[in-house]
């Protein structure tokens, strides 16, 4: 395809909001699933709702689609309150988790369903169905039944069935979770291209952080009914706002520290320089550093922010290597290296090394100054 995925970021219309959630609250019985969600999703962006199962992301999507009703708050779709509209009168379409293809209809009939319901003239309908099927490259299967298709093909039908209606917003509820890894990665790229080509707003619900990182322009990380952090993908990875995001989005080493000056903190591993904005001297902070930002070396370095460690685990992963290393005080660090062959990255267990934690990558987390057990499954 001749489309540059990078280009699409420019297409996002910064000022026009497609979907606006205003203080959405929802409880099922005694369980509060959404605790006041405020969220604006811009026109033409690929937006992901990321979080562990039970965080409320799917409920939020279902409220927008019209399958659930918020207890309080407002949902605006291009400025219009959708509360009084039943699902069939909302200009959003959903790609369901298990596709929900109609088993008694052929692929073409499935794709034509929405158009038929909206009484699109027969000639126009045929052309639209054909081009939608071709767009997802399943034109050859038009006359088959869903039962005769593979998982990936069903996924494409579900996609065609939604986009053929040219909705204002396309909702995708973990659409790739039932597929195997290789297929998932291929479809991720295809979804991104499709989104770029159509210029549609995509709201993508997933519990897979890698998927969200790969595909989204912006995302919201949700946990227990609240948005933990909202922002651009890169910004959120590089500067996680709190311990939950740091742990859920990729992995992180978390370090408790006390501020000793405007540039230094004291931790159990010693004194570290930190480039990030620090609070007043004497306050406790929680620092986060990504495993791949830490470098290991055999030679003792005179640089600051270096600690002596001993390798405890060596996990070979092909392109990358993952190590666990313990400091003298027993603190365990997670460290990732690139298997590029350029730098020395082949260490063995029990080897004594020096870990360098660059000041630029020690991020001060908000809202929490002490470690606590972090809830949620990190699948």
């Amino acid at each position: 395809m001749d489309l540059n995925i990078g280009e699409r970021r420019k297409r996002v219309l910064e000022d026009s909001v497609d979907v606006h959630f205003k203080d959405i609250r929802k409880a099922f019985g005694d369980v509060e699933v959404l605790k006041g969600i405020n969220l604006e999703i811009r026109r033409g962006e690929f937006f992901s709702l990321l979080g562990p199962s039970g965080c409320g992301k799917t409920t939020l999507l279902r409220i927008l689609a019209g399958f659930e009703f918020a207890d309080s708050g407002e949902v605006l779709l291009r400025g219009q309150d959708v509360a009084p509209l039943p699902p069939n009168q909302r200009s959003v379409n959903t790609v369901f988790q298990n596709y929900a293809l109609f088993p008694h209809m052929t692929v073409a009939e499935n794709v034509a369903f929405g158009l038929k319901m909206r009484k699109v003239p027969a000639t126009q309908l045929k052309d639209k169905v054909r081009s939608a099927l071709e767009m997802v490259e399943i034109g050859a299967f038009a006359d088959r039944r869903p039962a005769q298709l593979s998982g990936g093909q069903r996924q494409r039908v579900a996609l065609a069935r939604a986009i053929v209606n040219e909705p204002q917003v396309l909702l995708l509820d973990e659409p790739l979770s039932a597929l195997d890894r290789k297929l998932r990665v291929n479809l991720q790229v295809e979804l991104m291209r499709l989104q770029a080509r159509l210029g549609l707003t995509f709201i993508f619900v997933t519990h897979d952080q890698e998927e969200a990182l790969t595909m989204s322009d912006r995302m919201a990380v949700m946990n227990k009914g609240v948005i933990e952090q909202l922002g651009g993908v890169q910004e959120m990875y590089e500067r996680p706002a709190n311990a939950f995001v740091a742990k859920f989005l990729g992995s992180s080493n978390l370090l408790e520290a006390t501020v000793t000056s405007s540039r230094t903190v004291k931790t159990e591993l010693g004194v570290f320089e930190v480039s990030d904005q620090l609070p007043n001297v004497g306050q406790d902070v929680l620092l986060s550093i990504r495993p791949e930002k830490i470098s290991l070396s055999r030679a003792q370095s005179s640089l600051a922010n270096t600690v002596a460690v001993k390798v405890t685990d060596d996990i070979y992963q092909g392109a990358t290597g993952a190590y666990r290393a313990k400091t003298n005080s027993g603190f365990e660090l997670e460290i990732n290296t690139m298997n590029s062959g350029v730098t020395d990255s082949n260490f063995s267990i029990d080897e004594e090394l020096f870990a360098y934690l660059p000041a630029d990558f020690l991020v001060v987390l908000q809202g929490q100054s002490k470690l606590e057990k972090i809830g949620g499954d990190e699948s």
Binding site: G66, T94, F96, L101, F102, H104, F113, R118, R161
Partner: protein, 296 residues
């Protein structure tokens, strides 16, 4: 003499069943279990088999085997040269009544029962759990209790509407009352196998609630609806007790006719008629099972 006919047939049935077990690789049963099963099946089906065998007996009254004949079947299907047994006109009227009753009551019960099944599947409302539970009462209530209660109810209602005089309309209502439960149970269990997201998908694709039912729910529930209807039809055809208590002079059905004539002694054409009814019922149940099995 009779046993000469009976034993080989039973043996054949057992063999077929046993062979079926082997072929389907079901866990092998011990000899004791097999024997018990064979005996149980024997007691269940022997009476039916006796009736079927006797319907081919060329004897007017006796239970002993005289010779093979198909004349009793011929008589049922209008051969007036055969003497003995029931009156042809009575038989025809009873057959007509049975079919009219079964068709009308099944049609009504299928519509109401399917709606009930869908309603209970789809919606949670105050009392929905109670309704689902109450649905099983007509299924487990003994026919005689049901018949007596209907009789009492009709006696009260008769003062308001002549509609409830013993006769065909009253019988239709009586049959519908117990058929609804069966249809609703079958339809509901079919709906339970469907992905609830299918209805949401239809709604998401601009279908109104009515269109959703028409385009998605009904086509997918159809095997269940048909199975329920067949079940209701079969139940109506072979119902005796409830029909007996609600029938009038002009609405005798086959089971009632058979009962009435049996009091004067079992005639061979009744055996033939019973065999036909059993066969029809079996076909109905069989089709209903097939429809329920073909659920993807």
């Amino acid at each position: 003499m009779f046993w000469l006919f009976f034993l080989p047939v039973m043996a054949l049935l057992f063999a077929a069943w046993h062979f079926g077990l082997r072929r389907n690789q079901v866990r092998k049963a011990s000899l004791g279990l097999s024997l018990t099963s064979y005996l149980a099946f024997g007691f269940l089906y022997a009476p039916i088999l006796v009736v079927a065998v006797m319907s081919f007996n060329n004897s007017r009254f006796r239970l002993e085997w005289v010779g093979f004949t198909t004349k009793w079947y011929a008589k049922i299907f209008g051969d007036e040269s055969v003497t003995g047994g029931l009156e042809g006109a009575q038989l025809l009227a009873a057959t007509q009544n049975t079919l009219v009753l079964a068709i009308i009551s099944t049609a009504i019960a299928t519509v109401i029962g399917s709606l009930l099944g869908y309603g209970l599947h789809r919606y949670r409302f105050p009392g929905s759990q109670l309704t689902a539970w109450l649905m099983y009462i007509p299924v487990v209530t003994p026919d005689i209790v049901m018949a007596i209660s209907l009789l009492l109810l009709y006696q009260v209602l008769r003062n308001v509407a002549p509609f409830f005089e013993p006769g065909m309309p009253a019988m239709v209502i009586a049959h519908v009352t117990f058929q609804i439960a069966f249809v609703a149970i079958v339809v509901r269990s079919r709906l339970a196998t469907l992905d609830p997201a299918l209805e949401e998908a239809a709604r998401d694709l601009y279908a109104s609630p009515l269109e959703t039912v028409r385009q998605v729910v009904l086509p997918l529930a159809l095997p269940g609806v048909m199975a329920g209807a067949l079940l209701a039809f079969t139940l109506s055809i072979d119902d005796f007790v409830i029909s007996f208590f609600t029938s009038g002079p002009d609405s005798q059905t086959l089971p009632i006719l058979i009962y009435a004539s049996v009091k004067r002694g079992i005639t061979p054409d009744i055996n033939a008629l019973s065999t036909i009814i059993v066969l029809l019922t079996m076909v109905g149940v069989f089709l209903s099972q097939i429809l329920q099995r073909n659920q993807k």
